[in-house]
Structures are given as C-alpha cells and as structure tokens.
C-alpha cells in the first residue's frame, strides 16, 4: 500500500460562444433559433452551420417557441447546473416547425411533465453559469 495525496485544481475558462453565439442570444431574448438547409430544406434545431444529411450550408431562422414533449427522463443532473445534483427533468422536445428534436430541461410546474405534453420556452433565468441553461421549457397551459 502506498500513500495517497489530496490534490485540487480549480479551472476557469474564458469561453467564446462562437457560431452558437446567435442561438444563445436568441434564447436570452426568448426566441429559438433553428437552421434550414440551403440545399434540401431540412429544418433543424438548435442552429448548426452544416446539414448532417448533405453537408450543405444552413441558414438561421426563428422557430416558434412551442413544442411537444417526445421523451422525458427525471434524474440527478450534473454539478455543472447550479443546484443540479437534485432531481431534474430533461426531455427531447419536438419544436414546432423543426424536423429534429431538441434536448432541453423541463421545469416541473404543477406536476411532472409527461410525454405528449405541449410546452413552450420559459423566460430566460438570471444567474446561469452557461447560456445553455436558458434552454428550459414549461407546460403550455
């Protein structure tokens, strides 16, 4: 048996948003930015620069802020989300007008959100540590 030592390293990054910058800015403003392929017309969310089907360039477009819950899971989120180690709900959301689904956190309102529930983008929360934490949906009552 050899000795062990407790070592700690705190890392802080100055991290650019890059091509996702407009998507995150839109979220902060209560909008969802998707993308449409300039070749095949496929509409995806979140925004991306290249189509996964044909590799063509994609153009940004605003999508409705509504959708339907496709699948949902409840579990401990990671510590990267403030307060995340408690139970959180994440799901795949079929955003209105998009051909793909979007992974997002779902805020529990009056109860757990089930598959098939209509949802809408929640207002951007303050105090996030990363702009992806603005991507939260709530039941659309």
């Amino acid at each position: 048996m050899t000795a062990t030592d407790d070592l700690a390293l705190l890392l802080s990054w100055h991290h650019g948003r890059g091509a996702l910058g407009p998507f995150f800015s839109a979220l902060e403003q209560g909008r969802i930015m998707g993308a449409r392929c300039t070749a095949c017309g496929r509409t995806v969310v979140p925004f991306r620069t290249r189509c996964t089907v044909d590799g063509a360039q994609m153009a940004p477009l605003d999508l409705p802020v509504t959708g339907i819950v496709r699948q949902v899971t409840v579990g401990s989120a990671s510590g990267l989300l403030p307060g995340g180690l408690g139970g959180r709900t994440f799901g795949l959301i079929e955003v209105t007008g998009a051909d793909t689904s979007l992974l997002a956190r779902i805020a529990d309102g009056e109860g757990p959100v089930a598959e098939g529930t209509p949802v809408r983008l929640a207002p951007a929360e303050a105090g996030v540590t990363h702009p992806s934490q603005w991507l939260v949906f709530v039941a659309d009552t």
Binding site: R17, S78, L102, L103, H130, Q133
Partner: protein, 396 residues
C-alpha cells in the same frame, strides 16, 4: 478479408476495480504491459510502434500520456500515437494499430489502454466531466448526464418495439453473473430480475443495476504482421479479419431513430464486409458488446445484426445470449459486470475474444466451447463513434 490480417501475439490486463491501494494508471500500465510481453513471448526491442488509448486527461490528471508511458515501460525512442474516441478509445487504438500493420509502417505493435475513472475523482465530479463528452456547450453545461441521454434513447426504443425494463433486467443478471466467473471483473454479483427492478432510480427508467460501472484499469495487446512473427505451436492463434468505424449525429434529437444505434450498424456492416461475414447470426460464435447500460446491450445487439430491430430482448429472455446459449454475449461480464475503464475496454474485449478463440479463457467461462469467430464492439458518446472488429482463429 483485410490485407495481411494482423495476428494477436498476446495480451495482459490488470483487474478492473476501484483501486484503494495508492497505485495509479502508470503502475497498472506497467503491469499490463509486463503481462502482455510474457504472454506474447517477445522482447520489448521487437516493438516498433506503440498506440496508447485513454478517454480523458481530466480523469488521469496527465496530459499527453503517450510519451510518458512509452518512457515508463522502457520503449523510449519508439513511435507513439495517442488515440481517443470516448468509450471506444480502446477499439480505436486497435484500429490504428491494424492500420500501422496493414500499411507496412510497423511490424509489431503494442496497444495500451488505461483509465483511472473510479479512484481519482468523486462520483459527482466524474458525472459532470462525462456530461462534457457529449455536446459540451449544448448538453453538458445544461446539466444533462450520460444516463439521461441513454435513458431518452432507450425510451424511443421501448416506444417503437415494446421492450420492457423487465426484459432489460436480464442483461444485468447475466452480465453480473458472468462476472462471478471472471477474476478480473469489478462487479461479480448473484442478483435477480427483481433486484434490478427495485434498485434505486438513477434517471428514469434506468436504475442503478441497469448501469455499468466506471472502473480503474489497464490492458495491453501485442499485434504483428503475419510475416514478422513466430507462429506458436503450443496453442491456436487469432487474427483480426475485419474492422469498421462509423459515426452518428452527436445530438440525439437530430437522429431520425433516436432508439436505434445507426452508426453502430454502419460500423458493423463495414467490419462484416471486410471479414467476409454474410450472416453474423450464424457466423459469429461470441460477442463482447458495449453494454454501458442494459438497454445499450440490447440496442447494440440489434445494430450489430445479431437480432432484428426490436428482437434482441425476447431472444435474451430465451437464453440465446447467455453463457449456455448459441451466441454468448459478454462472457467477460461486459461493462456491467467486468467494469468500464474506457481506454482499456476495447483492448480487454480483444483479449477476451482472442482467448476464447484460443481455448484459454478463464476456465469456468471457456468451458468446452469451440470458438472460431468473435466480434468486439465499443463506442464513444451515445453510440456516436463506433468501433467494430471481427476476430478469427488462424487455421493451420
């Protein structure tokens, strides 16, 4: 068949577990390499390339491990390449080694994989780190975990094909049970379906006993060109006759079929094509499949063409993939029973299948089986990058 099919000369590993004895990955790599050289019966001086696999420097606290480990094991001067493909890192290292040999760039290659995934960092820290192995900006920092993503993929599979958690629990029972006969396994357990179904919930519907372990471990394998080795007379030998690699979209929501491992299907097709396998259900005798979760084994079996889509769970219940079945899956215990040290896992899979082929695996698991052709499968992300290899006994 791939040109100049490389031959496996030998391999070695350390047991997978959470090491509490103050040792670290550098020690485990040395031990695994010593074992591999002894098993292969060659000298260090005969190695002309080293491939090193590990998933994350965040886990090991060592950037650029390749030249460090070459130095540690007494091979300073030999070329080294470090390979990473998430949980498929070991399989990717095997692929790169085969490329070295096929191209003539090297004659005898040492493949080393390791991970210090269990003892270095706390479980919560590791969960945060692994969130960054998907889309860090869009998923990791949002707080999503690997288990959440796998759970969402599984739910699509369940909705399409009617797979149940009770069916999947049999994967855990099988793999923990196989691990009881494997002295290198991290989690040998005698459990029942009910034990799995009543274990604590992690992320719905996955429970604790549906999930694989993250382990500490290391493994090494030595491969050679057939014209640059001495053929063994005391035992059969194994060669790599097929390999494939393919990717899928990194974000689950952009997949047309989130519950189907499409990238793995493509990788397997490539491996089978190069190996001359036309009906894997008949031509594959054993398989080591990347069972990061119980559902992932079932999804993997289907994507590998060992069952039709939606058909693996029922065949599992019928015993087809059990140790006494016609196509045993994860005799080692898989990630669920043997454990998962991502950089080493694909290499351990190769050691497992080659020893089954050579008739010298752990006796209780080898039994009297005659294995000619085996499949190994691993992946990174959510079957986002997939590595598949076909191994076969050399007929003399």
């Amino acid at each position: 068949m791939i040109q100049n099919s490389p031959v496996i000369l030998g391999g070695g590993q350390v047991p997978f577990r959470r090491y509490r004895d103050g040792t670290g990955f550098r020690d485990w790599v040395r031990l695994a390499c010593d074992a591999a050289f002894a098993d292969a019966q060659i000298e260090r001086a005969e190695i002309d390339a080293v491939i090193v696999a590990s998933e994350s420097d965040m886990l090991s606290m060592q950037l650029s491990p390749g030249p460090l480990l070459v130095d540690d094991i007494g091979l300073t001067g030999v070329p080294v390449v470090r390979v990473e493909s998430g949980g498929g890192s070991g399989g990717a290292a095997l692929r790169v080694a085969v490329m070295h040999l096929m191209s003539g760039l090297a004659s005898r290659v040492l493949v080393v994989g390791f991970e210090q995934a269990a003892s270095h960092l706390s479980r919560d820290t590791v969960r945060s780190v692994y969130g960054l192995s998907f889309d860090a900006d869009l998923e990791g920092w949002a707080g999503a975990t690997a288990t959440m993503l796998y759970a969402l993929s599984l739910q699509d599979h369940m909705a399409r094909f009617g797979t149940t958690m009770e069916q999947l629990a049999r994967v855990s029972v099988k793999n923990h049970g196989n691990a009881r006969l494997n002295p290198d396994a991290h989690s040998p357990l005698a459990i029942t379906v009910d034990d799995v179904l009543t274990s604590s919930m992690v992320s719905t519907p996955y429970r604790r006993l549906d999930c694989s372990l993250l382990s500490d471990g290391a493994a090494a394998l030595i491969l050679a060109r057939p014209d640059a080795m001495t053929w063994r007379r005391d035992r059969p030998m194994t060669r790599i006759i097929g390999m494939g690699c393919a990717t899928d979209t990194v974000r689950l929501g952009e997949r047309a079929l989130p519950g189907v491992f499409t990238g793995k299907r493509t990788a397997a097709a490539m491996a089978y094509r190069t190996a001359g396998i036309s009906d894997p259900t008949r031509q594959i005798d054993v398989a080591e499949v990347y069972d990061s979760y119980t559902g992932a084994e079932v999804q993997g079996i289907e994507a590998l063409g060992l069952a039709p889509d939606g058909g693996a769970a029922a065949r599992l219940a019928d015993g087809k993939y059990g140790p006494d079945g016609p196509l045993p899956v994860n005799l080692s215990g898989g990630l669920i029973g043997h454990g998962g040290a991502p950089g080493a896992t694909g290499i351990v899979q190769a050691i497992t299948v080659s020893r089954l082929i050579e008739g010298r695996y752990h006796p209780a698991l080898q039994g009297g089986r005659d294995v000619r052709t085996g499949l190994i499968d691993c992946h990174g992300g959510l079957a986002t990058v997939n590595l598949t290899h076909v191994l076969q006994r050399v007929e003399t």
